[in-house]
C-alpha cells in the first residue's frame, strides 16, 4: 500500500470535460499503465482517489492535484514516467510525490485557491488597475446570490470576506484578475460569483462565455 499525490495541468479544449470525466479518465489510465489502485470495500467498490478540489467544466488548471492509493509501492518517479505518455492531449503531469502520512485527505486540507480570470473588454475603460480595485473592493459589501448547501435555495451573501486578495492588470483589450479566494470545506467562494459581481460593478457588457478562468494553484492548511 502506498499513497501518492500527482500534480498535473489541464489546458486547452480538454477543459470542457467534467470532473467526473476526469476521474474516469484517470481510472482508465491507471489500468492501462498496469498500476493497481486500492479499492474501497463494500458493495460498489471504487478506486481510492480524489482530487484536492474539483475543477469546474471550462476552467483551465495549472496545479491540479490528485491523491491516490496503490496496492504496491511503485515509486513516485516511476509512476510519473509511466503515466506521462499515456495522458490525453492537454493533460501534463508535472510531478508525483509520496503523500505524507496524515489522517486528513488533501481535499480536507484545501483552504484557498488562486485563479487568473481574463475578462475581454469590448470598449476601452478609463480606469487604472488601482481604480478598478478601489471601485470593486471599496464596496462595503459585495452582495450576490449563492446557492445554499443544504436547501439549494438562493440566498443573498456578502462574498467580500471570502476574497483573500485581488489584483488587476489591464492589458490591451483584456482585464486580467488575479483572485485569491477561500476554497475549502468551511468557506468556499466560486470565481463565478466574483466574475458576475465584477462585471456588474464595472458596468461591462462582457458575456460570461467570453471569460476565461484558470486555477493557478491551491493552498493547504498545515
Amino acid at each position: 500500500m502506498a499513497k501518492y499525490i500527482l500534480t498535473f495541468s489541464k489546458t486547452g479544449t480538454i477543459c470542457y470535460t467534467s470532473h467526473l470525466d476526469m476521474m474516469k479518465m484517470f481510472k482508465r489510465v491507471f489500468k492501462r499503465a498496469g498500476i493497481k489502485q486500492s479499492y474501497s470495500q463494500g458493495f460498489n467498490p471504487h478506486p481510492k482517489m480524489t482530487f484536492a478540489q474539483p475543477l469546474s467544466l471550462g476552467y483551465w488548471g495549472l496545479g491540479e492535484l490528485l491523491e491516490f492509493e496503490t496496492e504496491e509501492d511503485y515509486g513516485a518517479d516511476n509512476i510519473k514516467n509511466i503515466l506521462a505518455p499515456l495522458m490525453p492531449e492537454g493533460i501534463v503531469i508535472t510531478d508525483c510525490k509520496e503523500a505524507e502520512p496524515s489522517k486528513k485527505t488533501l481535499a480536507a486540507k484545501t483552504e484557498a485557491a488562486e485563479y487568473i480570470i481574463a475578462v475581454p473588454l469590448h470598449e476601452k475603460i478609463d480606469m487604472t488597475s488601482s481604480d478598478i480595485y478601489d471601485k470593486y473592493m471599496g464596496q462595503e459589501k459585495i452582495l450576490t446570490y449563492k446557492k445554499q448547501k443544504k436547501k439549494k435555495e438562493l440566498a443573498e451573501v456578502d462574498i467580500k470576506p471570502m476574497i483573500r486578495d485581488l489584483s488587476f492588470v489591464v492589458e490591451e483589450e483584456t482585464l486580467f484578475v488575479t483572485a485569491y479566494l477561500d476554497s475549502g470545506s468551511t468557506s468556499n467562494l466560486s470565481p463565478e460569483l466574483v466574475i458576475t459581481t465584477l462585471i456588474e460593478c464595472l458596468g461591462l457588457d462582457t458575456e460570461r462565455s467570453e471569460v476565461q478562468v484558470m486555477r493557478r494553484k491551491m493552498v493547504f492548511a498545515e
Binding site: 479544449t13 470542457y16 467534467s18 470525466d21 489500468k31 490525453p88 462565455s209
Partner: protein, 617 residues
C-alpha cells in the same frame, strides 16, 4: 488542441461541450498536409450514439493505419450547438482538427436507421455543402454512404454520390485510394464503380410505370454494372479489427471494449434484414477473439467487455470461448457482458457467474404470440423453451423478464395477439409457483414494436399495417396485458410509418426528405424531436402516397427500387421463403443443411467455424 475564440465561446454555452472537442485517448492526430486523402466519417446522430457504434471504430482504425489517408470523425451537433453554429456561421467541423467538412476529399455517412436521414441532409447543410449531387462540383467533397440502410439506397439517391454496399473493411480503403489516383469526380466514380459494392446512382435513370411502380433502371453510362453486388469479406478471422479504440471522455450509450465474434446468422427469421444481408456466417477464431479482447482492454483501460454478433451463443466454439473470457475478465477485474444468449443450461451457468448478485433482466424475443405466427416468421423458439428457461431463471434469482414482440406481422390475427398476453400471464404464474404466493418483486416487461417490412428480406413484398390497425392492436394489447406484475410498452406508430416509407421507398421519396429538411425536421428517431405535424405537411406538399409505399402488397413481377442492389442472396430464395411463410412452414437453421440462399456461389459459408461440413443443395 487550441481553438479560436468564437468556438471557445460556443463551447462555454452548450450542454456537454466535450461532444465537440475530440482529443480522446487513442483518437488519431496526423498532419493533414502529409496525407493524400482526407475523409470524414460522419455519424448522423449525436456523439454519444455515434461513439457507441463499433463500425466507426473498425473503419477509423483501418483508414488511419494507411499513412496516406486521414480519417476524422463528424457527428450531428445537438440542437443547442446547431443553433449557435447557425448564428455565428460556423460550418460543421471534424473533431480531430476542427476542419470544416467542406474542405475534405470525401465525406462518408453511415446509415444505421432510416430516421436519421434528415440528419444527413442537415449535416450537409451545416457543412455548407449543396444537398444534391447534381449541384456539387469538383470543389466539393465526394459524399458517400454505407451501412445497412444503404441496401435500399434510393431515398437518398439524389443526395449521395456513391453508396458502398456490404462489408466496408476492404472497400472503403480502396475507394479512398482511388480518390487519390483520379483527377476528376467523374473519373473517380467510373473507376470505383468497377468494384463490388459500389453503387453510383447518377449512372442510372429510373423509369416508372403509370401505376407508379418502377419500369426500368436505364444506364446513363454503359460501364455501370447491371446490378451492384455487395462487397463481402471472406475471412473474418483475418480481417482487421481495432485494438486501440477511441475512449470517450463523456458517458456514451456503450463505453466498453467490444470484439465481434462472428458476422452473419443462420437462423433465417423472415422479417430480419440483418439475417439476410450479413450472410454467410463467418467466424473469428476464439484465440483471435481473446487476443483482441486482451489488447483492447490493455489499450483502453475499459472495465467492461462485450461480444458482438447477431446471436452470441451461435459461435461454434461459444462454450470454451466464454469460459476462457470469463477467466480472463475475472483476473483483470473486467465485467463481461454477453448479449443475446440462447438460454440453455450453459448460458445460465455463465450468466449466474458473471452477473452475480446484480442480475439484470433476462431477455426473450419470441417476436410473435403463437406458434403458428412464429412459424410464419420462422422464429425458432417455442413457448416450452421460454417457460423452461424462465423457471430456471427464477430459481436462480432473476426478478425481471423482458419479452420482445412485433405487431403487424404478415398473417397476424387477434388470436396471435392473445398469445402475447398468455405468455406474459404464464410467466407470472410460473413465478408464483416457484417462489410462493407472494412472488417477490418479480416483473415482466412486454415490449411490442411495429413490423416494418425491409428490403432484401422474404417479407419485402408484404404490406405494412396502417396506423389505424396498429393503434387498434395496441389498444387491444393494452387490455390483454393489464396483468399485475406486467409492464406493457409499445412503439410509437407514426415513426414506424415514416421508417417504412424510407425503408422501401424509391428515388421519388427523396423529395419528401428534402422538404422535411427544409421545414426543419431532424433527429426524427428522438421522441422529443420528432414533429408529426411537419411530416404530415411534408407528405401532403410533396404528394407522397404513403399507401403506395407501405400498405400494398407487391407482386413478384414488380421491379423493386432496391433490386439494383444484389445482396448475393437470391430473389428466388426470398420468394420461396415468403411462400413458405404463407403456408406457415418453417425452414431449419442452415447449419442443419443448406437452405439454398445462394450466397455460397460467392463466398464460403461458415468460414472459420468449427462445424461439421454443411452440404449445399
Amino acid at each position: 488542441m487550441r481553438i479560436d475564440k468564437e468556438l471557445d465561446n460556443m463551447l462555454k454555452k452548450v450542454e456537454k461541450p466535450a461532444r465537440y472537442i475530440g482529443g480522446e485517448v487513442n483518437s488519431i492526430k496526423k498532419d493533414p498536409e502529409k496525407v493524400s486523402v482526407r475523409m470524414g466519417f460522419a455519424f448522423p446522430d449525436t456523439y454519444e450514439i455515434g461513439m457507441s457504434y463499433m463500425g466507426l471504430q473498425i473503419l477509423y482504425n483501418i483508414l488511419n493505419k494507411n499513412d496516406d489517408i486521414y480519417c476524422e470523425r463528424v457527428f450531428a451537433p445537438a440542437m443547442d450547438m446547431e443553433e449557435l453554429m447557425r448564428e455565428c456561421g460556423r460550418e460543421l467541423f471534424t473533431l480531430e482538427t476542427f476542419t470544416p467538412v467542406k474542405e475534405l476529399d470525401i465525406l462518408g455517412f453511415t446509415l444505421q436507421y432510416e430516421l436519421s436521414y434528415t440528419n444527413v441532409l442537415n449535416m450537409l447543410q451545416l457543412g455548407n455543402i449543396p444537398l444534391k449531387s447534381c449541384d456539387r462540383g469538383e470543389e466539393h467533397p465526394v459524399i458517400i454512404a454505407g451501412g445497412p440502410c444503404a441496401y435500399n439506397p434510393e431515398p437518398l439517391a439524389d443526395f449521395i454520390d456513391v453508396f458502398l454496399i456490404g462489408d466496408g473493411e476492404e472497400l472503403l480503403e480502396q475507394v479512398c485510394i482511388a480518390k487519390k489516383d483520379t483527377s476528376s469526380k467523374e473519373e473517380f466514380l467510373k473507376k470505383i464503380s468497377a468494384y463490388n459494392g459500389v453503387y453510383v446512382p447518377s449512372f442510372y435513370d429510373v423509369e416508372y410505370n403509370e401505376d407508379g411502380t418502377v419500369k426500368a433502371y436505364n444506364k446513363v453510362w454503359d460501364g455501370a454494372p447491371d446490378r451492384v453486388k455487395r462487397a463481402v469479406i471472406s475471412d473474418l478471422d483475418k480481417a482487421e479489427f481495432p485494438v486501440n479504440n477511441i475512449v470517450p471522455f463523456i458517458d456514451t450509450v456503450h463505453d466498453r471494449s467490444v470484439v465481434e465474434t462472428f458476422r452473419g446468422c443462420t437462423r433465417g427469421c423472415r422479417f430480419c434484414q440483418a439475417g439476410m444481408i450479413y450472410r454467410p456466417v463467418r467466424e473469428r477464431k476464439k484465440e483471435t477473439v481473446r487476443r483482441l479482447a486482451e489488447e483492447q482492454i490493455k489499450n483502453t483501460g475499459h472495465d467492461e467487455l462485450s461480444l458482438l454478433s447477431l446471436s452470441t451463443s451461435d459461435h461454434s466454439c461459444f462454450e470454451p470461448m466464454a469460459l476462457d473470457l470469463m477467466k480472463m475478465c475475472k483476473e483483470q477485474n473486467v465485467a463481461l457482458s454477453l448479449p443475446s444468449l440462447r438460454l440453455d443450461s450453459f448460458s445460465f451457468k455463465v450468466l449466474d457467474e458473471i452477473q452475480g448478485y446484480r442480475k439484470s433482466g433476462l431477455t426473450f424475443a419470441p417476436e410473435a404470440g403463437s406458434q403458428r405466427l412464429r412459424d410464419i416468421i420462422n422464429k425458432n423458439i417455442t413457448e416450452e423453451d421460454i417457460y423452461g428457461a424462465v423457471e430456471q431463471a427464477i430459481g436462480l434469482g432473476w426478478e425481471t423478464i423482458k419479452l420482445y414482440f412485433m405487431a403487424g406481422l404478415p398473417g397476424e390475427t387477434y388470436e396471435d395477439l392473445d398469445g402475447i398476453g398468455k405468455i406474459a400471464k404464464n410467466i407470472i404464474d410460473i413465478n408464483f409457483r416457484v417462489r410462493g404466493r407472494k412472488g417477490g418483486r418479480f416483473r415482466v416487461t412486454a415490449s411490442v414494436s411495429n413490423f416494418v417490412p425491409k428490403a432484401h428480406t422474404p417479407f419485402q413484398w408484404a404490406a405494412q399495417d396502417t396506423p389505424e390497425q396498429f393503434i387498434d392492436k395496441h389498444n387491444y394489447l393494452t387490455k390483454q396485458l393489464h396483468i399485475k406484475g406486467v409492464t406493457f410498452n409499445y412503439h410509437e406508430t407514426k415513426t414506424s410509418v415514416l421508417e417504412a416509407v424510407f425503408a422501401r421507398g424509391d428515388r421519388r421519396v427523396g423529395k419528401a426528405l428534402e422538404k422535411a429538411h427544409q421545414l426543419g425536421c431532424k433527429f426524427d428517431g428522438w421522441t422529443e424531436h420528432y414533429n408529426d405535424e411537419l411530416w404530415q405537411q411534408v407528405f401532403a406538399e410533396t404528394n407522397t402516397d404513403i399507401a403506395f409505399y407501405n400498405y400494398r402488397e407487391r407482386s413478384y413481377d414488380e421491379i423493386l427500387p432496391w433490386d439494383i442492389i444484389d445482396p448475393l442472396v437470391t430473389r428466388e430464395f426470398l420468394m420461396r421463403e415468403n411462400e413458405k411463410a404463407k403456408a406457415a412452414q418453417t425452414t431449419a437453421d442452415c447449419r442443419q443443411g443448406c437452405a439454398g440462399c445462394g450466397i455460397n456461389k460467392h463466398t464460403e459459408c461458415f468460414k472459420g467455424a468449427e462445424l461439421p461440413e454443411v452440404k449445399h443443395g
